[in-house]
């Protein structure tokens, strides 16, 4: 490319009005700092999807919080939504930090990012309890079946019989994050693939407007340690074996789009606005049917296929903050006098101790 054409291209771009979203921001405003992950890492494409989804949804980043545990995946919150507070916490403990943050300020949109080591091994307890509490949290698992930062050990989602350079053969069966989420009564369970941007963005947008916890298990290949074709967490395997349950489309409430009325379309309205449209492909899957979700996951395990899409959704369950019956005003916004009893109320209690 010659210098001249490049300059011309830049001039053309400059002449074009910058594309802004509904709160008047360009997409660049949703970026974070440069990634330090390996070139081609699946996690970076997920970060890019988060940037896109947030920009298209017109999220106010100052009202978003990014949390993570420890690992390659957990470094990523630094790489998107630069105007949002972020907390790279402890290995496997992101869910508890998220629980505290959400209770403290229930008006925040909280995005938690974790990996398969962070969630399926050290953090499986906190993961399942956050799910059980239906914490209003977007819980993203960037699943590559391997420990990257500690240089290539098997994780609990690694396939049985899989081979790794330093570890040899894995003798144990994998834990399936979607199955674990479902048995813990998750209200939104989706599986996706870092190499499938359109589907992932639709799922992320739906997750943002979901009422409770949204678990997204995203196969995100590790190009350094686990991207050979025999791994179910590789780009090659994903491209060759992905079976989409449906074509997904998210329609935000602020976009009044006429939707063509397909016979095989299913629309699920989301608690916080908008709806997700699922255009069914084969096999016929109803994501509001829990048993069907179990069956699909089992089928994917039995047949060694990457079945992606919205596996299960239920907008009818109360979230943790709803169950706690907290004030609509976030606890962090309450003035002192609302955060302590009246003198009379305390004296009333003391009278019972006198």
């Amino acid at each position: 490319m010659s210098t001249r054409t490049r300059t011309e291209a830049a001039a053309r771009r400059a002449a074009r009005p910058a594309k802004t979203n509904r709160i008047g921001l360009e997409k660049t405003a949703y970026r974070g700092r440069p990634s330090t992950l390996c070139k081609g890492c699946g996690h970076d494409s997920i970060s890019q999807r988060i940037v896109n989804a947030a920009w298209e949804m017109g999220l106010d980043q100052t009202q978003v919080v990014k949390l993570s545990g420890i690992g390659c995946s957990s470094k990523t919150p630094a790489y998107y939504l630069g105007w949002s507070h972020g907390f790279n916490s402890l290995h496997g403990r992101m869910p508890s930090v998220a629980t505290g943050a959400i209770i403290a300020n229930s008006s925040l949109e909280v995005i938690g990012v974790s990996g398969d080591g962070d969630t399926a091994s050290i953090g499986i307890g906190q993961f399942k309890h956050a799910v059980r509490r239906n914490l209003p949290l977007i819980y993203i698992v960037e699943n590559n079946g391997v420990y990257g930062l500690t240089k290539g050990q098997f994780s609990a989602t690694a396939d049985e019989g899989q081979f790794l350079k330093y570890q040899g053969v894995n003798d144990l069966p994998p834990l399936d994050i979607c199955m674990e989420a479902l048995t813990a009564n998750a209200t939104f369970v989706a599986r996706s693939f870092a190499g499938d941007p359109k589907q992932l963005e639709a799922l992320l947008k739906a997750a943002i407007n979901h009422r409770g916890i949204a678990v997204l298990d995203i196969v995100s290949p590790c190009v350094t340690f686990n991207n050979h074709d025999s791994s179910t967490k590789s780009y090659g395997f994903g491209r060759a074996n992905e079976i989409k349950l449906h074509d997904l489309n998210f329609v935000p409430e602020f976009e009044e789009i006429e939707i063509e009325d397909y016979e095989d379309e299913l629309e699920v309205e989301l608690h916080d606005g908008g709806s997700i449209i699922l255009k069914k492909i084969d096999p016929d899957h109803d994501p509001t049917d829990r048993t069907a979700a179990y069956n699909v996951i089992q089928q994917s395990l039995d047949e060694q296929k990457l079945i992606t899409g919205l596996l299960y959704i239920n907008e009818g369950e109360p979230t943790l903050t709803e169950l706690l019956n907290l004030t609509d005003t976030p606890l962090t916004h309450l003035p002192d006098e609302k955060l302590r009893p009246s003198r009379e109320a305390l004296e009333g209690v003391m009278a019972t101790l006198a």
Binding site: A29, R33, D60, Q61, T62, Q63, V65, L67, P77, A78, G82, W83, S84, H85, G86, F87, N88, S89, L90, R93, P95, S96, V97, A98, T99, G100, A101, I102, I103, A104, N105, S107, L108, G125, Q126, H129, L324, N325, L326, T327, D328, P330, L331, T332, L334, D336, E337, K338, L339, R340, P341, R343, A345, L346, E347, V349, M350, T352, L353, A354
Partner: protein, 614 residues
């Protein structure tokens, strides 16, 4: 019914009458419902104006293992644990032999007549209670019999000692929160026991209780855990997350109990505080750190095993500089065996908890009123210093009922520390550094998630950040940060509650102690004073220590550091922080699962002073 007193009371005419000055020990089996009886006795005596303290020595068990409840009455207000018993109530056959050994000569043993009481002492008076017969006569519903049986000793003690039955009735109503039927059933049993005792036992001339004034007026009867819970609720608590562990559970349960009364928003009827029973202690502290980072006042309560599990988060809170509060109600550890026995064995662990170079602010409340105050003060300190604050109570203070000053209501503004709002950021044109020491006190400014300004956000990590909160592995950046944390710790010295000093003119022997040892220390000092040995006393209320600790040591020839653990943990810290005076500091540490007694403290001080000074 043919029940008779087998031996006549031995009351020597010249025996000094012990009025409002003796100890009752009730031996029962765990889970037999004795808590109600003992609580009622304690409360009735409290309402008669008598200075009292009740200590529950209980096993790690639901039902069956031996439990003792010791009520100390002291007209002079000395309420530490007494080693010997004046009146022993035996309701547990398995412990009769050892229970009898503890009784002072001239003391009394009252026992359930179904128990084997062999090898009777000649110097002790025995009274036999026909518990089963009295219960049978009362014709109570079958399911309640075992529970109400313990009311028999309440009635017998009432008659023997002169406890007013009207106060017992009031205490029962209080216990059953006004439920007259339940209180009535129990009172009926008490009255039957009183009637029986008046016919068969009579009143004792040696041990008596008498209504008195001058001590209990205006005071309340409360355990430290309830006080701490109320203090936290009054101090702006927004989230309490916890995992069940003795002896801290009752603190969290008290938060739950009082939350709706004290913290329901009157405009909306909704809660302004959340309580979460977490899946484990790691999650409990994780929630606290998450809430503290977001700007809410959050607390967890636990005990030794819990703080071990919390140690990684403790370090993170220290280095990421997140406000958090941990109440550690100390007990023996680790694991099982003595988890229901008191100890002050977490002082070192709490002070240094975490990996890397961590030192935490640690508070030591000594009584329920201080537990209440520290409920709020711990949050103020955590937010002012942007750090983790420990409050170290213990089983004796936390779970036993103590006479306390009423709690002082505070409507002073909460000290929320250095927090930049969107307007502040606008003024500074967005220029700020999360870990920058602008004011020279080591405390940097922070912003809260949700602040509506596009320069508000920062990215929080444990280590590896520069002044602006950006990722950095430069040695200079981290060293500079550690230097600032040291400055912050020096600031903490000035902010924590200062020690309480009680100095006697001319005294050259000092005592440093902390927390619930106070009752034992005060009584020991009085005993020592009576033998001519005056002592100065510094009651430490917080770590890090301030200048007053150094000067106190300087003013004394020898200073005993008294604590309820085996290694002398506070002594260890003081010698480290005051190396120049280390030789003056003598450790007096005891760890047997029981609150320190005045007899032990006075005896050891006397012995050591004789060895050291003479």
């Amino acid at each position: 019914m043919s029940v008779a007193v087998r031996e006549a009371p031995i009351v020597k005419p010249d025996a000094p009458a012990a009025v409002n000055d003796f100890a009752i020990n009730v031996a029962t089996a765990n889970g037999s419902g004795s808590q109600t009886s003992n609580g009622v006795l304690l409360r009735a005596l409290f309402k008669m104006g008598i200075p009292i303290n009740g200590k529950n020595l209980f096993p790690s068990n639901i039902q069956g293992l031996p439990t003792w409840y010791i009520i100390r009455l002291s007209k002079d207000g000395f309420l530490a644990r007494r080693e010997m018993t004046d009146i022993q109530v035996c309701m547990n056959g398995r412990t009769v032999a050892e229970d009898m050994e503890r009784v002072v000569p001239g003391g009394i043993v009252i026992y359930d007549d179904s128990l084997p009481v062999a090898n009777r002492r000649k110097d002790v008076t025995y009274y036999e209670m026909p518990v089963k017969d009295l219960v049978k006569e009362a014709k109570l519903p079958h399911a309640l019999r075992d529970y109400v049986a313990n009311m028999v000793y309440v009635g017998v003690l009432a008659e023997l000692l002169g406890i007013e039955s009207v106060e017992i009735e009031a205490a029962l109503l209080h216990h059953f929160e006004g439920k007259e039927k339940a209180a009535g059933l129990n009172m009926e049993m008490v009255e039957r026991a009183i009637d029986w005792a008046s016919a068969h036992v009579g009143q004792h001339h040696g041990y008596r209780v008498e209504r008195m004034t001058g001590f209990n007026e205006g005071k309340i009867l409360v355990d430290g855990n309830t006080a701490a819970a109320l203090g936290a609720l009054a101090g702006g608590l927004s989230l309490a997350s916890w995992y069940p562990i003795t002896p801290s559970s009752s603190m969290a349960e008290s938060v739950e109990k009082y939350a709706s009364t004290l913290r329901t928003d009157k405009d909306t009827g909704k809660a302004t505080v959340a309580v979460i029973q977490a899946e484990d202690e790691l999650a409990a502290i994780g929630m606290v750190v998450g809430a503290g980072w977001t700007g809410a006042r959050a607390m967890t309560c636990t005990s030794g095993p819990g703080i071990s599990l919390m140690s990684e988060f403790a370090g993170l809170a220290y280095f990421a500089e997140v406000p958090a509060v941990i109440w550690d109600i100390q007990r023996m550890g680790p694991s099982t065996g003595l988890p229901t026995r008191t100890s002050q064995g977490d002082i070192l662990a709490a002070y240094y908890l975490g990996h890397g170079d961590t030192r935490h602010v640690v508070l030591f409340p000594a009584n329920p009123a201080e537990c209440f105050d520290f409920g709020r003060i711990a949050f103020d300190l955590a937010e002012e210093l942007q750090t983790l604050v420990f409050v170290l109570s213990d089983l004796d203070l936390g779970m036993n009922a103590h006479i306390s000053e009423p709690f002082e209501y505070s409507d002073a503004p909460f000290k929320r520390g250095k927090v930049l709002s969107a307007e502040d950021l606008e003024e500074r044109q967005g220029s700020w550094g999360r870990y920058m020491d602008v004011d020279g006190d080591g405390i940097a400014y922070r912003t809260l998630p949700g602040t509506r300004h596009n320069m508000a956000a920062y990215f929080t990590r444990g280590t590896g950040h520069n002044e602006y909160g950006y990722y950095s592995e430069r040695p200079e950046d981290w060293e500079q940060n550690l230097e600032r944390l040291k400055r912050k710790f020096e600031t903490a010295r000035q902010l924590v509650p200062s020690p309480v000093l009680d100095e006697v003119e001319g005294a050259q022997v000092g005592i440093i102690s902390l927390g619930s040892n106070h009752d034992g220390v005060e009584e020991a000092r009085a005993r020592l004073e009576a033998t001519g040995l005056s002592t100065n006393y510094l009651r430490l209320r917080a770590l890090p220590i301030d200048e007053s600790v150094r000067t106190f040591i300087e003013r004394n020839r020898i200073v005993f550091v008294i604590e309820a653990n085996s290694d002398g943990q506070l002594h260890n810290i003081l010698t480290t922080e005051e190396p120049a005076q280390a030789l003056k500091l003598v450790s007096m540490a005891k760890c047997d699962g029981l609150p320190l007694s005045a007899r032990y403290i006075a005896g050891e001080v006397q012995k050591a002073v004789e060895e050291a000074l003479i």
